[in-house]
Amino acid sequence: MPEPILRKKAIVVEEIFHEGGPAVEKPLRRAAAIAVIKNPFASQYVENIEGFMDDLKPLGVEMAGDLLKALGGDASVVEGYGKGAIVGSAGEVEHGALWHVPGGYSMREILPASNAIVPSTKKLGGPGTRLDVPITHCNASYVRSHFDAMEIGINDAPKADEILLVLVMTTGARIHARVGGLKASDVKGEDGLR
């Protein structure tokens, strides 16, 4: 299986102080690590693609490390995560699905309490396509205050024979979370759900 060929990387950090309501003491941070790689399966139907998941693992680990660094380096501040992929027009959506295992694994590897499934989304798109990366609490999917999403995109990617890969981490709840439900402080953290 081919090694991923990287064209560019990007890190985006949002720091949110308020959204029309009372300003908070500790701003919410949402960070995304993006990598644009060549799609080794572009323009052809390749039946056996599963092996590329292993090839993507080192890149995933690198991106998760970059994200953590962008958030200050302390894994304990990370409370939410998500992942996604945009496949260039000469690929198929299944090529984006290759990111599920390595993308999820790389973040769960470095985050101490990460029993929850990493929510995800994927699609085909041309350069500049935006993707809404869903976000949930790292240790309990049903924590209502942490359901969120971050829109990402790069103006010149993905080209037809590329895949844009993304990982997202956040440091807390939505800035004015107030719709009840399971709180992060009440999480049992055993089954990844509650």
Binding site: G21, Y45, N48, I49, E94, H100, T121, D132, R178, G181
Partner: protein, 194 residues
Amino acid sequence: MISTIRKFVTAVEETRLEMGQVVSPASRRVMSAAIIENPFAGRFAADLEALMTIGAELGELLTRRGVEALEVDPAAIQSFGKAAAVGENGELEHAAAILHPRLGAPMRDVLGGGKALVPSSKKMSAPGQSIDVPLGHKNAAYVRSHFDAMELSCPDAPQPNEIVVAIALATGGRPLPRIGGLTHETAQGDDGLR
């Protein structure tokens, strides 16, 4: 009717070919969306009860409309997802109030079950911007073949005082799943995860 609905948008996709391969049975999915007035546009309201009630109403209505558009028995739906895009005079929390407290239960009632968390995304949005609605298996979140997403955009929505509320449903997984992992057939579906 509690919601003030300006318009419905319903899109059915049927994929018959992917990367030159015949998809059999054809992959069928629906996006069922409503564009509603945001009762809290332009002001900060601490209590978002009105939006939670709207969420319950739309959970039933949009799911029913989606199943009807697919022309299938509700039990034939294998995966689901939800999302909301809030116009600029609103707040991200308005999306959360519609989606999380009460939308899922009536959605599951229409489908005759659904043990898994309904995957979701949300964002602040200008008219015409796209929103990606994640899709996941309705009884077992880890079914790898069913991780997917549908993109919605309405050229004229959301206006500043509006919210786009969308649910997505599919009768199967991605067109050509071949990256291993849990499948519809091998999932137990007891705990919502596997």
